[in-house]
Amino acid sequence: AQTVTQSQPEMSVQEAETVTLSCTYDTSESDYYLFWYKQPPSRQMILVIRQEAYKQQNATENRFSVNFQKAAKSFSLKISDSQLGDAAMYFCGLLGTYKYIFGTGTRLKVLA
């Protein structure tokens, strides 16, 4: 079975500061992808960043980067220079064969 665990229901960060959202997962598959999606109040799921499991190099997308620890099955998201527009629910996801397994989400609040 595949599982994704986000142990932080809510996080807060001061504007312009850095925050890290945690995610751990479990899978028996050797080839998989990991994702972070953002869901603002509009409900629209937006892909933030993705990581191919066979790549050791951590993915980065502008202010967003991941710390992928394959042996520890950990996949955390770092947001640098946080902006008010980053406030949203963040979901960590695992894509194995054909479907996503998502964590329960972390609500990120950005304080002005």
Partner: protein
Amino acid sequence: GAGVSQSPSNKVTEKGKDVELRCDPISGHTALYWYRQRLGQGLEFLIYFQGNSAPDKSGLPSDRFSAERTGESVSTLTIQRTQQEDSAVYLCASSFVAGNPGDEQFFGPGTRLTVL
């Protein structure tokens, strides 16, 4: 179309009634997915289609739930005899091909279903 669209955006129904939720995927996307998101929770996989075939229906919560897809186009999720626990946001997503981990899933805005 430019993105995945879903209709209606909101649906309020009475317990025991049937509802149909519609999803229009991105043109050219052969894979389509349905998820349920209960209030304050993550996404729960329901079913996926590759073309108009649904290889895995194991995520459907009960036999009151069914889904169909016409070709590689519109899909409808039907919930019969709705119950209050069916209240949730139902999200649809599409991608080029199911099972290709490199393909991004594009999500629609969801349908918020409220069962009174």
